[in-house]
């Protein structure tokens, strides 16, 4: 079930340079939201910008009926959103899209969070903790530099007894120096690949590398993709990604909004 609601802004927190966390009240949407789902936000009713903007859900508070989105200002839509104040409302459609397939207790989960791609995998991690998930969980969080680990304070709050947290920065200003996929490879060397489930979101380059890795090593790996989404509801056919079920199937196009945004890394072609 998809809902459309006018959602009051409960809080708009600045997390760093041009990065914000917006907390919205949307009880009906929250009731049905799971990790990987996104909301489609009409940033204002004046048709400027015209189309809605998609944001993965970062976290929910099911008791309060509120959800969080975390975003970076990159253009008009996110610029408007960054100026929202407590008491303003935005129109939401949600929850939209397919969720991650949650791991079983025997699985070893590895969350790979590149930059703001942290959002859906953070939700997944929080949800697993709430469900008292017993499987081993890694949380790999990387960015260009320390200042861009915008959600560092949230990540630091994850219980270290349940989640093994590793950081990377391209410039080495925090944690491992280098790219996230290199850090991931280190973790993979330690673990039984047949038990590993990788959940990732982040910049296109990272996801393309992970898709390649998953294909080469036959890994279970799910990616949450981001593309422009005019409708978010599966009707405009505007948000497609190249898709190939297996080596013998033809290349087709899948709609990221409703057949994703979560896809098996082995089945998408990211070039």
């Amino acid at each position: 079930m998809v809902y459309q609601t006018d959602s009051p802004v409960l809080e708009n927190l600045r997390l760093g340079e041009d990065c914000y966390k917006l907390i919205l009240k949307a009880p009906k949407i929250v009731d049905h939201s799971w990790a990987g789902n996104f909301v489609h936000i009409q940033v204002n009713p004046f048709f400027y910008p015209l189309l809605r903007r998609a944001f993965s859900i970062n976290e929910v508070d099911r008791k309060k009926g509120s959800l969080e989105v975390v975003f970076k200002v990159i253009g008009t839509g996110t610029g408007h959103l960054s100026r929202k104040k407590k008491g303003d409302t935005v129109n939401l459609l949600g929850p939209l899209g397919k969720t991650f397939s949650y791991p079983d207790n025997e699985d070893i989960s590895i969350m790979v969070a590149g930059g703001l791609g942290i959002v859906p995998v953070y939700f997944l991690t929080r949800d697993l903790l709430r469900k008292k998930h017993k499987g081993k969980t890694y949380f790999l969080y990387g960015a260009k530099e320390k200042d861009q680990l915008y959600c560092l304070s949230d990540v630091k709050k994850l219980p270290k007894s349940k989640v093994e947290i590793l950081y990377s920065t391209d410039d080495g200003s925090y944690g491992f120096k280098g790219y996230l996929d290199a850090l991931l490879k280190q973790v993979l060397e330690k673990e039984d690949k047949n038990k590993v489930k990788i959940y990732a979101c982040g910049p296109e380059g990272l996801l393309a590398k992970l898709s390649g890795l998953a294909k080469e090593e036959n890994l279970f790996c799910q990616l949450s993709l981001e593309v422009g989404m005019p409708c978010g509801m599966g009707t405009c056919m505007g948000c497609v990604v190249k898709y190939k079920k297996d080596y013998s199937s033809p290349v087709t196009f899948k709609r990221v909004c409703c057949e994703g945004p979560v896809f098996n890394a082995q089945e998408v072609i990211l070039d």
Binding site: G234, C236, M237, G238
Partner: protein
């Protein structure tokens, strides 16, 4: 927050086109409402005059590679390339749901050749619960068919006539604005026996990614829709109304009730809501409600009184 239309016996929004009785003159445009069911959680389809399907072709089509859409000031470009499930799947999978709703169902069709258009039309003769065909001779995003036919009066005539000959449904050709004289094309439709005309489809446009130094869309050009094209669509309805007798269905940039009123006053008998569905899925139902309110406040008992109201009176 599904919008409900207030019941009011006195205001008559119903219209009739070629024997098809539409509860109200608000339709949802092809390619912007999927096959109807996608929006069923959010929109009460019983309140919309008609649902128009995505363009259907004889076999399913995959469309163009990404990137297919791009937002522009007050509008958007799309080059989908008629990605659709094909006419057979539409009949077997989508009609069942649509039949359960009070809304009228219009299938939008296209082909690479006139024969293909005819084949699709023939197949739809067996679709129970369908009410009309909209003929896409206007999509700018495919190499063969569509705008190729719709930009020439002789091919428009041939295509519409061939479909009229086989179809058991009233036929509504959908016109392209990318022509020198839209009136000429509309007259060709009339002559070929069309029952009504919808106008307009999208305007050819493009955007360039100046950082990558190449076009944004994989297809290079796309179709422009949204509020940016409303003045163009309105002028075309206005012009065609003056020369053509068929009922006109206005489409292009309609976002709200006042936009819709402009189209009725220019000469439209009904209107279609397109891009606005993406912005607010409730737009069509809100317009139905808004039209009722407008008629009530202005003591207009039937929406038909509005048609062409802004046109100069015949001398």
């Amino acid at each position: 927050m599904m919008v409900r239309v207030a019941q009011n016996k006195k205001i008559d929004l119903a219209i009739e086109i070629a024997g098809v009785k539409f509860e109200n003159p608000v339709m949802v445009a092809s390619g912007t409402f999927g096959y109807g069911k996608e929006y069923a959680d959010l929109v009460d389809l019983n309140q919309i005059g008609a649902v128009i399907s995505k363009t259907l072709t004889i076999v399913p089509r995959d469309g163009h590679p990404p990137l297919r859409t791009f937002e522009t000031p007050s509008g958007m470009l799309n080059a989908i390339g008629l990605h659709n499930i094909g006419v057979d799947n539409f009949i077997s999978e989508k009609m069942k749901f649509l039949r359960t709703k009070k809304t009228k169902v219009i299938a939008n069709i296209a082909g690479s050749t006139i024969e293909e258009y005819v084949q699709v039309a023939e197949k739809l003769n067996s679709a129970e619960g369908l009410h009309m065909l909209e003929i896409n001779i206007s999509s700018p995003n495919v190499k063969k068919g569509c705008m190729e036919f719709g930009s020439r009066a002789d091919l428009t005539y041939e295509c519409v006539k061939a479909i009229k000959e086989v179809s058991r449904y009233p036929v509504m050709p959908k016109l392209s604005p990318n022509v020198t004289d839209i009136v000429e094309i509309a007259l060709a439709c009339q002559e070929a026996g069309a029952d009504c005309i919808s106008l307009i489809n999208t305007l050819v446009g493009m955007a360039i990614d100046w950082k990558k130094k190449k076009p944004v869309l994989s297809n290079i050009t796309g179709g422009l829709s949204g509020p940016a094209i409303k003045p163009v669509a309105l002028a075309m309805v206005w012009k065609v109304f003056q020369k053509v007798k068929l009922p006109l269905i206005g489409v292009g940039g309609i976002m709200n009730t006042t936009d819709a009123l402009e189209f009725f006053m220019a000469g439209a008998t009904a209107i279609q809501v397109g891009t606005a569905n993406y912005v607010d899925p409730q737009t069509s139902v809100k317009i139905v409600e808004g039209l009722k309110k407008y008629c009530q406040e202005n003591k207009i008992s039937s929406i038909k009184e509005l048609i062409g109201m802004a046109q100069p009176s015949p001398t």
